[in-house]
Symmetry: C2
Subunit: 247 residues, 2 copies
Amino acid sequence: MISKNQLKFIRQFEQKKYRRREGLFVAEGTKVVGDLLQRYQPKALFATSEWLHAQSSPTDADLFEVTDDELQRISFQQHPQQVLALFPIPEAPQRWEGGKKLTLALDGVQDPGNLGTIIRIADWFGIEDILCSPETADVWNPKVVQATMGSIARVNVYYTDLPNLLDTLPSDFPVYGTFLDGENIYTQQLSDYGLIVMGNEGNGISDVVRQRINHRLLIPDFHQGATADSLNVAIATAITCSEFRRR
Amino acid sequence: MISKNQLKFIRQFEQKKYRRREGLFVAEGTKVVGDLLQRYQPKALFATSEWLHAQSSPTDADLFEVTDDELQRISFQQHPQQVLALFPIPEAPQRWEGGKKLTLALDGVQDPGNLGTIIRIADWFGIEDILCSPETADVWNPKVVQATMGSIARVNVYYTDLPNLLDTLPSDFPVYGTFLDGENIYTQQLSDYGLIVMGNEGNGISDVVRQRINHRLLIPDFHQGATADSLNVAIATAITCSEFRRR
């Protein structure tokens, strides 16, 4: 049985300010919740008896058995699948320790779909950390969590002041960005560690971050003559990560 | 002035059967319509006086000056931009003549957003033709046309029976597809011509097309240990095209 108060409590997680205040986010469905359970302890689980009976590991979470109709009422999905979970939002580390790995930095990526896709790409290419500027879309939005299709369980996403963080790095630390006047990514020497900055859909990388980029890359286009339009930011991220990893 | 009949006429282009019956598609906004005008003759233009006065080339199209309010009523967009145009749907050639180029074949890509993104990717990488199975989403859907951001003006999209077409090709003609058990795309020799087949979001490439693929590729993942999930089809298309073109 779902009470009115529970329904209200869950629905509020559509809004960022409630997610932050409660320190919780919503994940749904057997795949996404299943992936998250491999790494995180949930705070609460609202699930059908079928799902609950299929679980083998014990949990400290509050458990609520719900009917399909009740799940439909609390869900943020059109077609809810057996379970809705509340997980604590992972805390950002005090100090970024990713200096010897390849890390993505998102400087104002606005579209939740692009953010979800970028997290899947990071997961595919074994990139463990994504640093986001405060202007970047909120990854704990229920829609973004679902769009990651479980990759959010394997990729750490932190919000931080990017210019500040970049200022703490040694000056020879590789910071990459893609630009229309950069060097051909296919022929450049690429480091196996460093930061890859991806910018806003409309405006690209902000001026203050741009100044701190010391490796300017270009994904060349292959049209004949026509004006080069830009690539979608998730597509550019995929091609860039592919180039770094294939070497 | 827009009449009720004109409004009804334009709105029907949301439905595929009317687009096919009339042989027309809707494009909107200064960018997409501007790109299409460089190559195609429109049938009709519904535009603000501002847009009409900025045009320098004469046109045989029916011209209708509309107010912003009228444009809002006929538009398929949330924020219409100055112009809505009706263009004839380009006819597929009787015979596919693309044998010496790199061509994409979409075998049941269902999501209109993925289709729009793939057309942008083709445009970026100078791929002129995309062959689609009849099960693939309809590119002339107003939402897909907009999602291409003008690339539809430079990329030819044809619907055809893929297995039939594949049967007409010489047996040594390169037909590529990506599979979880294919050969590493980063280290394979790739031809500078041939067909690259991309499959359905859920089911991949259909059995009947799969049998006709003679080069099975793999985009390797770089996670440590975790189960490999699949890449979104547009992301896989981008990485594959990037690999073919960088050589």
